[in-house]
């Protein structure tokens, strides 16, 4: 071996897995980082436009039921616990427990999505549209600026689409696990995605609903 290669090896030390993880897990993390940047850009845009808005920001408690949003948060956090248990159970070889918890995660995710559909229908019913509040509607009477409804539909819509994708992935994972076709790593990858969806909600919940 040449001296230069030996020196490189001494500095590198990562072998074939520089992150100490399989290529599947490394790629999943890279995907999560890029997806996080999408939400980062959306939230930054929202924050900037809200800051620059000439119209006062509406009182969120008048527009939303915060206790209902808290319930949605509770559901999502609980589903994440089931997912984490499923991943650990799969890694320990207990695929039965893993499958049971993947199914519980799916139920939690479906409940969250149902809550979000209800909330969307509530806002639309009160005049919320993607371009702003419908003239003459309840939200228009409250002086809700267009950026408020735009941010609401875009942020929660993007997040909701991720929940839907997560549910699709989990359903496929559950079916394949029941058939004995999913390795533990498959459940781990689905779990990483599901926790990411939960993580994004933490930011949306704080920055949009609480601030």
């Amino acid at each position: 071996m040449h001296a230069a290669e030996t020196a490189l090896d001494a500095h590198w030390g990562g072998g074939t897995a520089p992150f100490g993880a399989s290529w599947q897990k490394t790629m999943m993390w890279i995907f999560i980082v890029t997806d996080a940047l999408l939400f980062s850009a959306l939230l930054t845009g929202y924050g900037f436009l809200r800051h620059a808005s000439a119209v006062p920001w509406p009182d969120r408690t008048e527009v939303f039921s915060i206790s209902f949003i808290a319930l949605m948060t509770f559901i999502l956090i609980t589903s994440s616990v089931f997912m984490a248990i499923a991943v650990t159970a799969a890694n320990r070889g207990d695929m039965k427990l893993a499958l049971r918890n993947v199914v519980l995660t799916i139920i939690g995710g479906a409940a969250f999505l149902a809550c979000q559909a209800y909330e969307w229908s509530h806002i639309i019913h009160h005049g919320g549209r993607l371009y702003g509040a419908l003239p003459g509607s309840e939200l228009a009477a409250m002086g809700v600026p267009p950026i408020f409804t735009q941010a609401f539909f875009v942020l929660t819509g993007f997040h909701g689409s991720h929940v839907l994708s997560g549910l699709t992935i989990l359903t496929i994972t559950a079916i394949r696990t029941a058939m004995g076709k999913t390795p533990p790593q498959g459940i781990e990858m689905a779990g990483l995605y599901w926790h990411f969806v939960d993580l994004v909600w933490v930011f949306i919940f704080t920055l949009f609903y609480l601030l």
């Binding site: 490394t26 980082v33 940047l37 939230l43 930054t44 616990v81 248990i85 650990t88 939960d198 993580l199």
Partner: protein, 100 residues
């Protein structure tokens, strides 16, 4: 046998309780009529704490090699800061220059 091996799932339920307590605290914060800047600081701090807890315990990032955690954390934080401090300011400048 270590405690973790005997109760492998307990950490997740403890994390669940901690996350719920923080969430309730964040919801109740407004009732204490704190100064606006402090409320902002409080909510943003605990938002970050929740994110770190989820990434560390649920996504097992604290059990991964440190370079993976640094890649994930630094990648997201640095890009977000650039977006907010540079791109958004530049957008404001362009918006002011553009006739409406």
């Amino acid at each position: 046998m270590s405690d973790n091996a005997a109760h492998p799932y307990r950490i997740y339920w403890i994390t669940w309780i901690v996350l719920l307590v923080i969430t309730v605290g964040m919801l109740a914060a407004e009732e204490f009529h704190m100064p606006k800047w402090f409320l902002l600081f409080f909510l943003l701090t605990f938002m970050a704490v929740k994110a770190v807890i989820i990434a560390g315990n649920f996504m097992h990032l604290r059990f991964e090699r440190r370079n993976l955690a640094v890649m994930v954390g630094a990648g997201i934080v640095v890009t977000s800061l650039i977006l907010y401090t540079y791109v958004s300011q530049e957008t404001a400048r362009i918006m002011q220059l553009t006739p409406r």
